[in-house]
Symmetry: C2
Subunit: 999 residues, 2 copies
């Protein structure tokens, strides 16, 4: 770069670039809105079938994002450059990257990354899948394929590109604060916007009159509705935009409580859906006038398949699925599914092979089938034809029917035989079916295979409306050196794959499947994830060591980073040590969650060092530029965090409580303040059940009071995963008891699998209360998890309860506590709901026990009786597990089983009276029962039960040997059944031994 581009020059170049591409250049809209998406040139035009390509600037107002111009790049007003491509042109990423080149950003010198970022606005009935685009770690654009808008399915799908102009220009100009950006080569962004930024913040946060703005909102809404009733789209939409901005100001002002918020959202959703429908109706009535501007469908670029020559011997088959950057989880899932499905399909098609290897990167999923047979083996088939008397005439010659059968089976008449089966005779043909060629089969089967891949969230992109996690852009299918011709989602297979993005994604011609890995390596691509992970680990450790430290183990982060790149190059970056004054958890969270950087800690002390390791997609050219970018973006993050931290620490933690009223927990369950108040009641109740001391109870109550306060602090609003951690930190700074601070932190534990657990009993009690409240409340309002949907993480909560109780060895029946929770809910909760919650926890317990390696039947047996008391179940399962592996275990199980089996289908319960039966074996069994009974209560554990039962074995055996239970005399019979029922009853409430194997 020579002279960096000014802000306005960037806009002008983007206009020129997109105009030359064929976009209509539009203008910012005459209403305040939060993003370019709000401009009717997007909101409305993406609806319906008409093509639409547009580009424009949009100054975007987000009142709550204001920072009084004290933040380097966070403002209530920022500038978007918005592009809509409808329908998908097939190469939108390349077009986008081309626009960066037009701004002088040479991809070779940077790290441009497409990082999963899906957009969803339930309030608008809109969602889409896409990415943030990162340039050297800085988010500079967003990129979305709209799937739904205004409650309507988009068809065709629109591609939305949104440039964050300030970010890009800061980058281009090499400045660290937006205020230093030069707008025109003379004036700075500070000159133009700083004062008004401060003013708007002052207005939004301090001055806006809540009552007046609420009135204004209502008036706008009424005008919007009146306009829609008259069929006026644009006048109505103007008012909808005004509603939205007014709401945003009210929200920034802290004026929107939960009830209001839910109501506002509902109202805005209604308006948005209505306007979307109205617009589409209008366009339909106008007969979709833009339809005539439909771009000519580009001719399929894949060359006609080469003449296909089947290989004569086993060879390697390659399928490469080329996509736009898949999200990490989808990539993992795709590879797993291919690994399972490909062998299955090959087997089903009788195609032999030596091995199947599935590897991949975010842009390609490759299946390598080694030693694939050239085709199926031939197969001999016997086909039964008509009865002999039909196929043959009296002379034994073939009738017309017989001839027809031979002909239909493709065999000579001589090949028919007569076979008798159970007195009937048929003609039978023996046919040899030749095996089909592998290429032909794959051409048919692979599209079906691709269609079978399943992902939690998929999208459509072109007119075929095939779904996939991201658009599929190319297919390589090579059998040996031959292209296997197949087509999927509008893409035809060939032998051309694409190289690394930083190299411009050059076309790479593959001579043969065998040469694939070598060709990829030759183009710097590391297709195998394992290899990438190793490279990253080795590079990162070396770099961390060079900074005197090491990286902390974080498998999730490592997995993610591995699957974000095609060619990893680790970069060591640093930040100003002054930021180490912030709580380190804040810095670590910013590095990991926001930036996917590996924090570097001191090799021995484990203290955080002012360094990080990031991983670039590409080689080491211009690494300094990339590092600079990485560092700049982290600095901005840290500056943000410090700003929030400084703001938060100007006041005591407790003072944030009122603001919780503006945070929704759940519409019908109220705000976080409501929940917080429930916890103040509930936590002591739980504490009592746990037997906490009065001192502990005091801590619990205070902690409950403060437990959610940090959710209203700015830092936690920004970095939600710091909830609890910051609560503890701020509680300490506010002079709260250390025990209270600890309980605040602990009540969220465990936050994830493998996380630490609370150590203090107040933390435990509060944590249980918090989770019980969520479970009961959310189940009661019908938000129990279903399928893969668990937006409130109730599975985690239930599992948490299980883990907590087990970890603290607390035997606690859940059901009575649930009833206490139900009593303080703002919604009615019936017993059925509590049963559901109990069962739900039991299911988590089952899973947890199974993960501990316990046999399923052991788990089943215990849970059948103790699911409602996790610790007890856990303990019982452990004990039972030891019994069932005893050599003599079957003695007990058989004996006890004989008792149970004979009575378990008896609908009636009988009482045993010793006087009615004079058989000595009966009396002996009765005595044995009596002896066992005195040792047991329903709370007894499994060990005690089994120890008590063991001595009964001889008495049971003797009883069954000597006595006929099912005696014809009903009195005798029922009395004996009553005895066995009583024996069965010993295990009731403890374990159901009938669930065990061998029963």
């Amino acid at each position: 770069m020579t002279k960096p581009l000014s802000f306005q020059e960037v806009v002008m170049r983007l206009d020129r670039y997109w105009a030359d591409y064929g976009c209509l250049i539009w203008q910012p809209y005459s209403e305040k809105m939060g993003a370019g998406t709000g401009n009717p040139a997007t909101t409305l035009r993406v609806l319906g079938p008409e093509p639409w390509n547009v580009a424009y600037v949009e100054p975007s107002y987000r009142p709550a994002d204001g920072r009084y111009a004290e933040n380097p790049n966070r403002m209530q007003l920022f500038t978007q450059y918005q592009v809509i491509l409808k329908p998908d042109p097939g190469n939108p990423q390349e077009l986008y990257l081309g626009s960066l080149e037009a701004l002088g950003i040479n991809m070779r010198d940077h790290d441009a990354r497409f990082v999963e970022d899906n957009w969803e606005s339930p309030a608008l009935g809109s969602w889409g899948l896409g990415w943030e685009v990162w340039l050297d770690g800085q988010e500079i654009s967003q990129y979305t394929y709209f799937q739904q808008a205004g409650g309507l399915t988009t068809d065709p799908v629109s591609v939305e590109l949104t440039y964050g102009l300030e970010r890009i220009v800061m980058y281009l100009q090499g400045v660290r604060a937006v205020w230093d950006v030069t707008w025109d080569g003379v004036h700075s962004y500070r000159d133009i916007y700083m004062r008004s930024e401060v003013e708007q913040c002052t207005y939004n946060f301090e001055l806006a009159d809540v009552d007046r703005l609420s009135q204004i909102y209502r008036l706008y809404e009424a005008e919007a509705k009146a306009s829609m009733a008259r069929g006026l789209v644009i006048p109505a939409y103007d008012y909808i935009l005004r509603c939205s901005h007014t709401f945003n100001v009210l929200d920034a002002r802290g004026a929107i409580g939960v009830t209001e918020r839910a109501s506002y959202f509902g109202r805005m959703r209604d308006l948005t859906r209505q306007i979307a429908r109205l617009y589409v109706e209008q366009r339909k009535e106008m007969e979709f006038p833009f339809a005539k501007y439909q771009p000519a469908r580009p001719a399929d670029k894949a060359a006609r398949p080469e003449a296909y020559i089947a290989p004569g011997q086993p060879s390697t088959f390659l399928l490469e699925i080329g996509t736009e950057e898949l999200p990490v989880a989808d990539l993992t899932s795709a590879l797993e599914q291919l690994q399972a499905l490909v062998p299955e399909v090959l087997t089903a098609n009788r195609l032999a092979c030596e091995s199947v290897r599935v590897i991949g990167t975010p842009r390609r999923q490759a299946v390598l089938v080694y030693g694939l047979a050239p085709g199926q083996p031939d197969r001999t088939v016997e086909v039964q034809g008509p009865p002999a008397k039909v196929a043959l005439d009296a002379e034994g010659n073939l009738t017309r029917a017989g001839q027809g059968f031979a002909q239909k089976q493709g065999v000579p008449v001589e090949a028919l035989r007569v076979v008798s089966d159970g007195g009937k005779s048929y003609v039978v043909a023996t046919r040899t079916d030749p095996g089909r060629l592998a290429g032909e089969l794959l051409a048919e089967e692979l599209p079906r295979l691709l269609a079978r891949l399943r992902f939690p969230k998929t999208m459509r992109w072109n007119e075929l409306n095939v779904t996939f996690p991201r658009p599929l852009r190319w297919l390589v299918a090579l059998l040996g050196d031959q292209v296997v011709p197949l087509a999927y989602a509008g893409v035809s297979s060939g032998r051309t794959t694409r190289g690394l993005r930083p190299l411009g994604s050059p076309d790479i011609e593959l001579a043969s499947a065998d040469g694939y890995l070598a060709a990829m390596a030759g183009h710097e691509l590391v297709v195998d994830g394992t290899e990438r992970r190793q490279q990253i680990g080795a590079q990162a450790e070396a770099l961390a060591a060079s900074a005197g430290g090491r990286i902390t183990a974080d498998a999730d982060l490592m997995d993610e980073v591995t699957n974000l790149v095609e060619r990893p190059t680790a970069v060591l970056g640093s930040f100003e040590p002054e930021y180490l004054a912030l709580p380190h958890e804040v810095l670590i969270t910013a590095m990991k969650k926001h930036q996917r950087y590996f924090p570097v800690v001191h090799a021995t002390s484990g203290n955080l060092l002012p360094s990080f390791v990031a991983v670039r997609n590409g080689d080491d050219q211009s690494l300094d530029v990339v590092r600079q970018g990485y560092e700049d973006v982290l600095r901005a993050r840290f500056a943000d965090a410090r700003f929030f931290y400084d703001q938060d620490t100007t006041r005591p933690l407790e003072s944030f409580l009122p603001r919780l009223d503006t945070l929704t927990f759940q519409e019908r369950l109220g705000s976080m303040l409501d929940k917080s108040k429930r916890l103040e009641k509930l936590a002591p109740t739980v504490g009592q059940a746990l037997g906490l001391s009065q001192a502990e109870q005091d801590v619990t109550t205070r902690a409950a009071h403060l437990s959610k306060a940090d959710l209203a602090t700015q830092l936690v609003v920004e970095l939600t995963s710091l909830q609890g951690f910051m609560g503890r930190h701020y509680a300490r700074l506010s002079g709260e008891d250390e025990a209270v601070a600890t309980a605040i932190f602990e009540h969220y534990l465990p936050r994830f699998a493998g996380d630490m657990l609370p150590e203090t009993r107040p933390g435990l009690a509060l944590g249980l209360a918090n989770r019980l409240d969520s479970l009961v409340g959310l189940f009661a309002v019908g938000l129990a998890p279903s399928g893969s949907s668990d937006p409130y993480h109730l599975r985690r909560d239930a599992l948490g309860i299980v883990q907590l109780l087990i970890a603290h060895n607390i035997s606690l029946p859940l059901r009575p506590l649930l009833a206490e929770v139900a009593a303080i809910m703002p919604v009615p909760v019936d017993g059925q709901v509590l049963d559901q919650v109990t069962d739900f926890c039991g299911e988590r317990l089952r899973g947890w026990l199974r993960e501990k390696g316990l046999r399923y039947d052991v788990v089943d047996a215990v849970l059948a009786e103790r699911a409602g008391n996790p610790y007890s179940a856990y303990r019982g399962a452990g004990q039972l597990a030891a019994w069932v592996v005893r050599d003599d275990w079957m003695d007990l199980l058989n004996a006890y089983g004989r008792c149970i089996r004979i009575v378990r289908d008896q609908p009636q319960q009988f009482a045993f009276q010793p006087s009615l039966d004079d058989e000595p074996a009966t009396a002996a069994l009765w005595d044995a029962l009596q002896a066992a009974r005195v040792q047991l209560t329903p709370d007894s554990d499994v060990d005690r039960l089994l120890i008590a039962l063991w001595p009964m074995i001889p008495a049971i055996d003797r009883f069954f040997d000597d006595v006929l239970v099912m005696h014809r005399d009903p009195v005798l019979r029922e009395n004996r059944l009553g005895l066995l029922q009583a024996i069965w009853g010993l295990s009731r409430g403890i374990v159901d031994l009938s669930r065990l194997e061998g029963f």
Copy 2:
């Protein structure tokens, strides 16, 4: 032009052009506004001392201008491109024309014209002077030097260029309706905007809820005030913009009555002034941060003056004042003033010359002084020195004082003389002052002369804040072949003038003053207006004749057109004959008032033909292009008019009445509906005074009811000068009586000097009532004309009353009628006001009578007694005028004068009693008086008075010969004075003969 530019391409090219020039490229603002001026980048940034150059697009919303997309170029939403240059760069017109060249508009092939258009928004406390820029007759831009904004004087002045983008693009693309413009080469303006245009019109005109919008306005206003109280400029300004747009919607909706309008305007004015002050205070407090971006003041481009060699003999002097296009009236005035001042200055400076010629064009005012003497003649001066006794010692030698005097006067001591004057002696020096050179004197005097030029409306443009009607850009001052070095308004004189705009205003070096006219002619410039007028007349007549017609005489239009061009080329254009179906007055008005075209009428019948003659500034190159432009713009005007006409004629005239409530007559006097209601009462009263028949009274009453209805029709809203004309037309179409229709038309007559007068008495009565209402009402609220300010044209109204009464020979004392008018006014009107109105009418009558050629003394004599009855005064003056030229007139005047002179200073009135005086001459005079008296009443006319007086001459003469009036006996004396007072009383109420010459 090859492929015409798309709409978006025009925007991009303008961005590029102005960015390259050094403008900051800004964006449309996020609020709806009526013009780019509303964007804070203009409204606020033009305030205060800081430099600011900016360019941006602004979609501009003017709800009342909507036409449901049925008009080819009138919409509620149009697009401005706005440029602000602050301070004036010195060549803004050239920069602007350069931008047109950048759009591919070659000036050589077009007629680009700067047509006076001043901008004033009293509501915003803002005004400026400038032009509309016409391209081939089409207004495509506005160009204003802001003089005041938000109630604050702009210093420095900003230049505002506002491009009407749609107009320019229509022009470039050669389309006749904005809807046919291509936006991007694919979509048309119709595609993008037509539906929303219709929707917004429907909302604004039919749906907007008045109550809700009024509430919204109040809420906005409250937020604006609260924001200002907190010192927040931008948040407040956003609300002010919203107030303004809300008001505009309410206005379009027809919801704003007069009282509301005045109130809204007052409120908006207050807000605007407050925000302007607040902004400037804020910038001051910030120490005007942009001051550092002040562009370097360009070095004075005028070369240092050549070494000046004074001519040895009389030569020609040329002063050419080069300006941006002066308004026609200012050009005329400038030339007149120069014609008067230059000789005056030459004479005052004793510079002889043969003749002075002053000629000019809109861009140059040239003074040619022929035969200017090379310098002043020498002058001998005698200077009186100290008294001889001080200057000379006893020996007669010079004292030190005497020597000092000689030295001071620069004369040798020998040259002192002693002179005695009335007994005192002084020394006297006789000094010869050598004449100064003409060039030196002119260099000193001409700047002073320029500073003496006076214009009704002037402007400032650069930091010197010199005022002139438009910026002065160059000065040529040549004496013979020498430059006379002078400077004015930051411009230094030279020998370089500039050529025609269509030729790119090339520099023209003038070798000498003598060669000026030849050089100008050689560059196609016709500097002499008389010559231009002749050329235009001849060309226009020839062209009209070629179309089978002639142009109608219109001296004003001819004068205007002459002074709009520097080189006239007449063009014959035509329009579709179908438009002739519209009332021809409409077409003619559009051609003349809007376009300055000469209508062509049939040579004999005088009927309008579908042709016009327009005058281009420039030669005949590409005349077809220019003609096409002229025709297109006229077509659009006609289409507009037809649209309005069609709309207006869908309903009866009477139905427009309610809407008059939204048109202000005057704030305190109410709406036009209020005025209309007053006329319904007043016109019959006037009719009664005029003696109208009952049938005439009925017509008058109905006509009064309808008289203002046409002001609410769309056509009259557009073409105000058609008021009355369209009223008659629409009344006829509505089935009103022809007499009613006529009266409606006639009540405005005469509309201008020389206009026709009403012929019917209802028209007369209504016309009088209309004018009397205006005069009384506006005087009563303190809006009597003062100086040159007469915004309500009250002088014209008063003169109209005079003309009407005289034309209809109606003797009518005004005072009683004024009292009737006063009685129905909504404001209190005291007798003093009525006196003022009477006097005011009298003054108009005086002027009118004088213009008729009547001697001032005759007019004075009559008006002294009959000013309140114009017809009577007129008749009396005519009669008196005949008497005063009689040879024997002085006999009467002397005789009657003797009577008057002796009594006119008597403070007391005496009654004559014949019995008290026994002088026969007294008795004879008493008899003569009695004889005259019976012939006269105060209503008698002048003829009757003088006929009655004439016979008294002998009696008067005898009385003065025989009788001593001022007798020592007070009884006798007072009795005789009483007789003479009675004689004087004969003329009272008729004429004051003492005002006559010779009295």
